[in-house]
């Protein structure tokens, strides 16, 4: 009876979130996934390029400031240049008017739309979500984002696509408002890597995983040190306990 309970407990702690009608998500190998995982700088930079040149047309990334891009390996001068390529609204000035100015490293990456209503109006009523936390906000995380990019297929027989949507086998419900965003060769990578859909989806998923959890590397490195220390201390306490209890007769 005790064993059954234990087995059931172990089975149940495997996350069994509420049912989705999606097929099993293919698991990817990510450089950042393991306990010692790290982000590869070139993947992050390529992913940022994909975001910039493809996704940012509709999706904001408002929780990332230009100064955060330092983690991608950019120098301060490069960040200033990247930021200066964008304009942000500021003000009011002395005349009481709002005005546009070049973005600074301390500014967040500007959104493509001034507000949600404008976003909906341009996208058939659908709101392209902000991508800063998308990897943490979706079951499956980076695996999901990658699968979604590659999941556009012809709708199965008998499925009627409503109102200008598209069929994606990994999107809950199957009918997604976003058209397939990536095509081969869409982006010319600065480092010369071939920009296939697979490569771009991998890179942008890595970038978005960083955007959602920029502290990942520091967290895991600290974790390794903390676990080592705790293991050592627990072992010491164990032997101290054994020694202290040696003379107690149960």
């Amino acid at each position: 009876m005790k064993k059954m309970t234990l087995v059931l407990f172990l089975v149940m702690i495997i996350p069994c979130h509420a049912d989705n009608a999606v097929p099993h998500l293919p698991k990817q190998n990510w450089s950042f996934n393991s306990a010692f995982g790290t982000f590869k700088r070139n993947e992050l930079q390529r992913g940022f390029q994909v975001y910039k040149e493809v996704c940012s047309a509709c999706h904001s990334l408002k929780r990332i400031r230009f100064r955060d891009l330092k983690s991608l390996g950019f120098k301060e001068s490069e960040i200033k240049t990247i930021a200066a390529g964008y304009e942000v609204k500021d003000g009011p000035n002395a005349e009481g008017e709002m005005f546009q100015r070049k973005a600074l490293p301390s500014d967040a990456i500007p959104s493509p739309y001034p507000n949600d209503n404008a976003a909906r109006a341009t996208n058939n009523g659908a709101l392209p979500p902000d991508l800063s936390l998308i990897v943490k906000a979706r079951e499956g995380g980076a695996d999901y984002v990658h699968a979604l990019m590659n999941g556009y297929i012809d709708p199965p027989a008998g499925i009627v696509i409503e109102g200008g949507r598209h069929y994606n086998q990994y999107f809950p419900g199957g009918q997604i408002s976003m058209a397939k965003p990536l095509t081969d060769g869409q982006v010319t990578y600065a480092d010369g890597t071939s920009a296939t859909v697979e490569q771009m989806s991998r890179d942008v998923s890595t970038f978005l995983a960083w955007a959602a959890e920029p502290e990942t590397e520091q967290r895991k490195q600290m974790g390794v040190k903390v676990m080592a220390y705790l293991l050592f201390m627990t072992v010491i306490f164990y032997f101290a306990m054994r020694r202290i209890w040696r003379d107690v007769k149960k």
Binding site: D107, F239, R246, D247
Partner: protein, 186 residues
């Protein structure tokens, strides 16, 4: 076991004054651990990344005519920016620094461009914001600052002349950009 003739455990089994190596090491390492664990908590109260990544304040020089000044907010503090006239610069240079509590020449303070005075408008005594002081003998022209709290007086170089303030008004990091048309503070 050789310890079978030890006293029963409800009395002290070991000499309480003898600390052995294992216990000492464990306690020392434990204390280190607790200290290390406290660090992130204490550090979380330090300025966060967004506070540190301050935007600089840019001031258009054309907005400030000669002989006038402007106060801007920088890092939550007022900064006095004054476009000094030649007479004001001359007067600042001619002041004998030996009479000043905090001896600095005007040239030391504003070597970049003496026409522009840029000082943090916070009295070095206890932190109040000094007010512009006008000289009735010189047609009510501004000739420095007077702190309303305890009466410290600063000249047109931001140096303390009298009063309890120990130091001259602080000069923030600043530079001229865009061919001198913009002063960037911070």
């Amino acid at each position: 076991m050789s310890e079978s003739d030890k006293p029963s455990p409800s009395q002290e089994p070991t000499d309480p004054t003898r600390r052995d190596f294992l216990t000492l090491t464990a306690c020392a390492l434990g204390a280190v651990g607790v200290g290390a664990a406290a660090m992130p908590f204490i550090n979380s109260m330090n300025p966060a990344a967004d506070v540190l990544a301050l935007a600089s304040v840019d001031i258009e020089t054309k907005d400030i005519p000669v002989g006038t000044g402007k106060t801007v907010l920088w890092r939550g503090k007022p900064v006095f920016v004054r476009h000094r006239s030649d007479e004001e610069i001359k007067a600042a240079n001619e002041t004998s620094i030996k009479s000043l509590p905090d001896q600095q020449t005007d040239q030391e303070r504003f070597s970049k461009d003496p026409k522009w005075l840029v000082v943090v408008g916070v009295c070095t005594h206890l932190g109040c914001v000094p007010n512009e002081k006008k000289n009735p003998d010189k047609g009510n022209e501004a000739d420095g600052w007077l702190c309303p709290c305890h009466g410290s007086v600063y000249d047109l170089s931001g140096r303390v002349i009298s009063g309890p303030a120990p130091k001259n008004l602080e000069i923030p990091p600043y530079q001229f950009v865009n061919n001198g048309s913009v002063i960037r503070i911070g």
